[in-house]
């Protein structure tokens, strides 16, 4: 099955208690490409990507309706195990959150270990490959036993990316991954994202319009829980079809 779309979202609605935060979202996420989700605060973009790996439902009184189809399976179907989903759809968070008391090695090996991989040689290989792919190997290969908390912010975030990569996911979700980092780290991670897009489907939430323009192939604009516009980045940024999108990207909101 080689559909160009990795995830197809159909009529997705989401609530926190009585408040509806996502209204009728329909979208197809392309494989081997970067899709950016942008929009003003509170537009539902973070809720949206958390619905893609079934993290939204972990919040008390959260509710979801609609379908999210991944590899032909609706991840919200009754028999589907959320941990199965989360192994294949990984997530990187806004604030880098490596396990602080654990070493760099143990952080990256965490995922494979909890999914049953115990062989030391195999783990070594996985850790190395993941760190290489995240562009961190050269900087840490000297001592993988160092605690993760000894790394800088940008390195920690790349460690979190390596940790997600170690599970060999098919999709990587990123929730404003660079908003807490210095400009050089931001640039490094954006380059990394473009490189990863050769292999994975990447969905990145960003509040930085310029970043969305730089990094993505497709961009979606959310506003007040709705998907207002979605298309190839060049098109949306050169000639937005919707007045709201035009106002948002040119900074006329407010």
């Amino acid at each position: 099955m080689s559909s160009p779309y990795k995830i197809e979202v159909e009529n997705l609605n989401a609530w926190y208690g009585h408040q509806q935060v996502l209204i009728d979202i329909n979208m197809k996420i392309k494989d081997k490409a970067v899709t950016a989700i942008m929009g003003p605060s509170g537009c539902g973009k973070t809720t949206f990507i958390r619905c893609l790996n079934r993290m939204h439902e972990l919040v008390p009184r959260a509710k979801v309706s609609g379908k999210v189809i991944f590899n032909g399976v609706n991840i919200y179907d009754n028999g589907v195990d959320p941990t199965w989903v989360r192994k294949r759809i990984g997530m990187v968070f806004q604030k880098p959150n490596p396990f602080p008391m654990m070493s760099i090695y143990d952080n990256v090996a965490f995922g494979p270990r909890i999914h049953g991989i115990g062989d030391k040689k195999l783990l070594d290989q996985i850790v190395r490959q993941s760190l290489e792919m995240a562009g961190l190997w050269e900087e840490v290969k000297g001592d993988l036993r160092r605690p993760a908390s000894a790394l800088s912010g940008g390195q920690q975030q790349r460690l979190c990316i390596a940790r997600a990569l170690a599970l060999e996911p098919e999709v990587i979700l990123m929730d404003e991954p660079t908003s807490h980092l210095d400009p050089i780290s931001v640039a490094k991670i954006e380059t990394l994202i473009r490189r990863l897009a050769e292999k994975y489907a990447i969905v990145i939430v960003t509040h930085n319009v310029q970043q969305a323009a730089r990094v993505s192939d497709y961009v979606a604009f959310f506003y007040m829980g709705r998907l207002v516009e979605y298309g190839p980045t060049k098109e949306v940024f050169e000639r937005p079809r919707n007045e709201l999108t035009e106002r948002y990207v040119t900074g006329k909101f407010g």
Binding site: N53, M55, L58, P60, T83, W84, R86, K87, G90, M91, F93, K95, N97, P98, F99, P100, M101, M102, F110, G111, I114, H115, C160, R163, A164, L167
Partner: protein, 279 residues
Amino acid sequence: MTKLHEWFRHLKDKLVLLLAHLALIAALTPLFSVLWEVFRRGIGAISLDFFVKPTPAVGEVGGGVANAIQGTLITIGLASLIGVPIGIITGIFLSEYGETRLSSFVRLFNELLNGMPSIVIGLFAYALIAIKIGFSVTAASFALALIMIPIVSRATEEALKLVPATIREAALALGMPRWKTTIFVALKGARKAVATGVLLAMARIAGESAPVLVTMGYWKWWFAGFDRPVAYLALNIFLFAKSPFENWIALAWGSALILVVIILGINVVVRLLMREKRL
């Protein structure tokens, strides 16, 4: 603001500072005087015999509190065996499912248990266990466990809450089932805090005499089975101090000193553990 006003304000500041210091001294004086008294009177009883010989028979000279130390350790040990796991599980439950109706009920129950006079808990344990199998270390441990549970539970719940949600989120996003993240988070992050809670609970029950009195009573021999009482340090103090025998009174003071040292020791350890906590 004139110079005079300024000077008055300065004076007021100094005055309040002085009063605060005086209050501090007033608060600490009783504590230190107790410690001093116990030390002064108890140090004389401390000897090798003290730690090695059991309770002396009536009329016998010398003797020690070795059996009381043994009994205290066994009692606290058994109480912890019962109380700590229950307390930890309760704490985990409250922190994980803290929003449900059942949890509010559990919380209420915890509060009540915490506030209940220990003698009442002792009587409860008596009615439940001592009546059936007689005065015993089991009954006493049960009573003490009940006292421990709210303390350990509260400490566990707080400890789990202190671990940042981001750690748990990271584990969840990697595909760890929810119940496992609780254990993992508790193990990795809350370890020290829970340990301190347990130690504090132990320190608390080490000093309880009322519930032990009504569930176990006095025992002057070595450990003789779980359905029998054991000698207990806190109880010894109570009983020996009233006796007419010189050496018994000395032993009482010595026991007091040991008990105070143990409890202080536990507190110091707790402080040390809490200080090097870096998440």
